[in-house]
């Protein structure tokens, strides 16, 4: 059997194992181990498993994962999240499905303080979902909004994916960051529009019970200030720290967590062992996410070893397809790979093949990067392996909430992202004008 055939078989076996309910990380480890054993031998597979388990996670940037999770939990338990949504709800109370849109807006703002989407997903699943459910929204819709808008975390700067792309394509990190702002706003608007259209024409998909939010009294100015102050202080700390030149992104995570801790202490929210409980929760969410990242890294390395990605590239990118045909095929491959492996792994596997072709096709490489990042992020939302969805499931810890329910809830937002890709393809200036100023 050739390496490519082993790679194809491994993908098929992985999909089967995931479908019949084996823990995904375990399935990836097992399939990757088997794959490398066949491609090379058991000894290499054994040593590769041992080193990938440590070196794939030994990354200072990943330290933001527990820190932002911790910040999210503290923000939640101290009631800051609920207060924030009271403010948003008040502001948008006359708008149909206003809280859904408020979630998108809050996510867009939060995206400017986090560089990874799973952080957004874990924070807003704690903050926004209970609020939306309390206000009569469907659980599936509420988690779908959070999963969908969590992708803004890696589109609006700072962004881990933009850094990965910038390094591979030899583009400026600063420029790549700027290039995400326009598309981030576009996507936020498309998400809000999606929510509006759903609430208008398919209300049964949005609301579990009809609560006329507009009848609720709005918050007074004093109340709005009291409820809005803590989150503003936190964002001031993180954003001010970042853009004032005091903090790098990982430090902003730590400062945010520390600031959230101070707020929780001031609000006396941490008694009766709740701080310990939060720290334990932080550990478990971090593990369930990073264990997947580790296993996914092993899987992508096994695939790279099999030669499957390169063979796919040859088949798809050579031949008489032309630049636009190449782009469509490339994005399709990115989205398909997104079903089974994680964002960074997709970029690591595909970009070395795609970048030279894109350059030969004469594409603007900043625009190409934005297209790549948006397409890669669709994978956060698509089954069977959707990291944002799993993060929400893990952070919610609600036995009644099925993963399938969340995946169904994200589908409208996947469609919105596909629409965004089309718009970004037709109007490259949305991505490039700020970056090329």
């Amino acid at each position: 059997m050739s390496g490519v055939e082993i790679g194809l078989l491994a993908v098929a076996v992985l999909l089967l194992l995931i479908l019949i309910g084996m823990p995904i990380g375990v399935a990836m480890l097992a399939v990757s181990f088997g794959g490398v054993s066949f491609i090379r031998n058991e000894g290499v597979a054994f040593r590769m498993a041992g080193s990938v388990a440590r070196d794939s996670l030994q990354e200072y940037l990943f330290a933001v994962v527990p820190l932002f999770v911790l910040m999210g939990l503290l923000v939640t338990i101290s009631g800051v999240g609920k207060d924030t949504f009271d403010v948003f709800q008040s502001a948008l109370r006359r708008v149909r499905a206003g809280l859904g849109m408020a979630t998108v807006g809050a996510n867009a703002v939060f995206a400017s303080i986090t560089g990874i989407s799973i952080a957004s997903a874990s924070v807003f699943s704690r903050v926004a979902v209970p609020e939306m459910v309390r206000h009569g929204y469907q659980k599936g819709f509420a988690t779908g909004v959070v999963a969908g808008s969590s992708v803004l975390g890696m589109l609006i700067p700072p962004s881990l994916l933009m850094i990965v792309y910038a390094v591979q394509a030899e583009e400026s990190v600063g420029r790549m960051f700027l290039s995400g702002i326009g598309p981030g706003i576009l996507l936020s608007v498309l998400f809000a529009l999606t929510i509006y259209l759903m609430a208008r024409f398919r209300p049964q998909m949005v609301f579990a019970e009809v609560k006329q939010a507009a009848d609720l009294p709005g918050l007074g100015l004093a109340e709005t200030l009291r409820k809005g102050a803590p989150i503003l202080a936190l964002m001031g700390l993180v954003l001010g720290g970042l853009y004032g030149g005091f903090l790098n992104p990982t430090e902003a995570g730590a400062a945010g967590a520390a600031g959230a801790l101070v707020i929780a202490i001031l609000r006396r929210s941490l008694g009766q062992g709740r701080l310990w409980h939060i720290l334990v929760e932080t550990g478990q969410i971090t593990v369930s996410v990073l264990f997947l990242v580790m296993a996914a890294t092993f899987f992508s390395r096994m695939l790279a070893m099999s030669g499957l990605p390169a063979a796919l590239g040859d088949v798809l990118l050579s031949g008489p397809v032309g630049p636009w045909g190449f782009l469509i095929l490339y994005l399709a491959v990115v989205i398909l790979l997104g079903c089974i492996i994680d964002s960074i792994s997709i970029m690591l596997i595909l970009l070395p093949i795609a970048i030279p072709v894109a350059q030969a096709a004469g594409f603007d490489m900043i625009w190409f990067g934005v297209m790549t990042v948006v397409a890669v992020e669709i994978g956060l939302l698509t089954p069977p392996f959707g990291l944002s969805v799993f993060t929400i499931k893990s952070a919610m810890n609600d036995p009644d909430l099925k993963v399938g329910t969340i995946f169904r809830g994200t589908m409208p937002f996947v469609l919105a992202m596909l629409a965004a890709l089309v718009i970004l393809a037709i109007f490259p200036a949305i991505s490039t004008w700020l970056a090329r100023l």
Partner: protein
């Protein structure tokens, strides 16, 4: 009939990095060329460049463990595993001549058994060597003298931080992917880096004042092949790879002399229209001397630390400096171990 040999060749960095790209254009191509002369063997390369198989934090273990057959080992990040190979990092300002430096390192690997063992003990065979271009200062403001450095925050991770000791500048942690944002936002005021790294990362946009300090080049690693893979190769292929490795080292060293000049020109051109535009200035020789002489005894301390671990640190340091001088280099500080 021609016999086919499958080999995986990999790197943590993309082929856009010159010495990684030269693995294709020089090492692989020269091996293929030599083998084609007899036509007995043909290598089918499975290329996994750009971090597909492992990241920068596992370049040594991945070749050692056979994750790839051949790979670029980034020795600068392997201080604990390849301690003696760090010698050039503890003798800054010693040379700005990569071909000479690589030749001296090759000689040391061939003649100091402990240095050779430090590589071969990791189950690999060294084929070719790699180095850096010269470290210079890229900053937000012009640096005319050593005194201008006082109080500045300079991105200089790891051992580079020691190259600032005594200058009054404070080292700030970071990496090539973080420098741009760090300088832009004020986390640091500039960076000690290489033209070959600054240009693709566009750091000159935020740090337009280029001061050519010529702090010296560093030995950065090797193209190496897993020993088990090596032993399985026919003698003719081994011979071809040895030759291709030597050819690679020579071509790469030469490339490190020429390419940074061209790249610095590109930096000037690319940064000509920004405000403020890129301005390149040499640090005056007396200020370079002042800089290197204000540094603590980096070489002596390192050698003593190595000796204390039972490694021939003093021997390697003195042989390194002697090797440079024997090839016509005149280091402005005569680093030595007692």
């Amino acid at each position: 009939a021609q016999e086919n040999i499958d080999l995986t060749i990999a790197s943590s960095h993309p082929t856009a990095i010159p010495w990684v790209g030269m693995m294709q254009t020089h090492f692989m191509a020269e091996t293929d060329r030599l083998l084609a002369e007899t036509g007995t063997y043909k290598i089918t390369w499975n290329e996994a460049f750009g971090g597909a198989l492992y990241k920068a934090n596992a370049t040594l273990s991945s070749v050692e463990e056979g994750v790839t057959d051949i790979g670029w080992v980034f020795s600068l990040l392997e201080g604990a595993e390849l301690p003696l190979s760090q010698v050039s990092s503890y003798a800054p300002f010693a040379t700005n001549n990569p071909p000479v430096q690589l030749a001296v390192m090759q000689e040391l690997i061939d003649t100091v058994p402990e240095l050779k063992a430090e590589w071969e003990g990791h189950n690999l065979v060294v084929l070719g060597l790699t180095g850096t271009d010269s470290y210079d200062l890229y900053a937000k403001k012009p640096i005319a003298s050593l005194a201008d450095l006082n109080g500045m925050k300079i991105s200089a991770p790891g051992v580079l931080g020691t190259w600032l000791s005594g200058t009054g500048a404070n080292p700030v942690d970071g990496s090539l992917t973080t420098y741009y944002t760090d300088i832009q936002t004020g986390v640091s005021d500039g960076v000690l880096s290489l033209a070959l790294g600054v240009f693709p990362a566009k750091i000159y946009e935020v740090a337009p004042y280029v001061t050519k300090v010529q702090m010296g080049t560093a030995f950065s690693g090797a193209i190496a092949i897993n020993k088990d893979s090596w032993d399985a190769l026919p003698a003719e292929v081994q011979e071809a790879m040895k030759k291709a490795g030597a050819y690679y080292t020579e071509a790469h060293g030469k490339d490190l002399l020429e390419r940074p000049v061209a790249v610095m020109q590109k930096i000037v051109e690319a940064g000509a229209t920004q405000t403020p535009p890129v301005a390149v200035a040499d640090l005056p020789q007396d200020q370079r001397e002042a800089w290197v002489n204000v540094l603590p005894d980096l070489a002596g301390t390192w050698a003593k630390d190595m000796d204390a671990k039972g490694l021939p640190g003093s021997t390697v340091m003195n042989a390194y400096m002697a090797g440079l001088k024997a090839r016509g280099e005149s280091p402005i500080r005569d680093w030595k171990a007692e």
